[in-house]
Symmetry: C2
Subunit: 216 residues, 2 copies
Amino acid sequence: MTDRGGSQTKVVNAASADAKTPRTERGRRTLRKLLDASAVEFGEKGFHEASVSSITRRAGVALGSFYTYFDSKDALFRALVADMSENVKSSARSALAPDMTALEIERAALAAFLDFAREHKEIYRIIDEAEFVDPESYRTHYETIAERIRMRLEAGSASGEFRAGLGELEAWAVMGMNVFVGLRYAVWADKGEARPSDEIASAVNALLAKGIARRK
Amino acid sequence: MTDRGGSQTKVVNAASADAKTPRTERGRRTLRKLLDASAVEFGEKGFHEASVSSITRRAGVALGSFYTYFDSKDALFRALVADMSENVKSSARSALAPDMTALEIERAALAAFLDFAREHKEIYRIIDEAEFVDPESYRTHYETIAERIRMRLEAGSASGEFRAGLGELEAWAVMGMNVFVGLRYAVWADKGEARPSDEIASAVNALLAKGIARRK
């Protein structure tokens, strides 16, 4: 398989555990359509009510093509969770610039996540439903994100920008902040109160940088 | 109805929206048994597989008694979510002492929550399933907790212990930290790595107090 970068690579990475790998560009597009249609279907109906025939209809793909790539609705769901994890990661990564400080990286990653969650509100419902449909995917999703944050925090400690001793516990705390701020301000934002992602990310970043205690 | 305080009050508060109010002490005990048994049943099997007959069997209560208090499995589930919200609140409250600083209150509330979550690991699964079974209960659960944290943060700002300007956004961030640290260290703690709740709460409290930036 030739790695041609960009979106093709993303599809292949994301779905590799549960989808058969397409060998052609057309196949990659079909797989992408199925994943996108399944996000809408699972997000609207939930896993149990969702159906393969409705997903292929949404995707404009023949039912037979579905089984070229997935063995079952379960396999598609697992591939979708992995795909969403991958998309969260790549959306954060694409917001980063080489000259950012460690703190700016946290702010930019959160702002990108908030934008992503506004565009794909179904991500919360799908990831949360994974706790019941496929607990291992659920746990892997969060463990993978926490591990990435831990590495960033430790790099910041090592460079002297962050205080020493940051690790896994702080990474889970940071992830929790980001997830719940996203739930409140990206997914549950009432109409007319849409605060820009940058503004929210900056407020969370200030909390992360200096905490809440008044400096004496 | 005479408010006789203590656990009776808790049952009545917690279940008032969806359970009929028991008029006798024996009735309150029956209602408590049904809520406790349902927590185990919903935690183990999930909402859809759980059954009223299995819950009454676990509770050692006659099936007819169930319908004295609840109209349906749905009503019991909603009452259980409200009961868990109430128990989270009262476990945090019982850990507080009058002479605590605002920061100590956050630490003690988190330590109490971690102890509670270790004892009642099913709480995560039940609250998370509410997102699908009864979205309004799910949202109310988190909005209520965030509102309590917001009031504590604003009190800390007002007294000058915390910096000015803390509000709803910081409250959701703090709630997210606590929820995800609880998920990792209370619910998903691997055997042999059980860190004491106090130690975890202190590390989160340090993050909350001073953030992660190195002080210059």
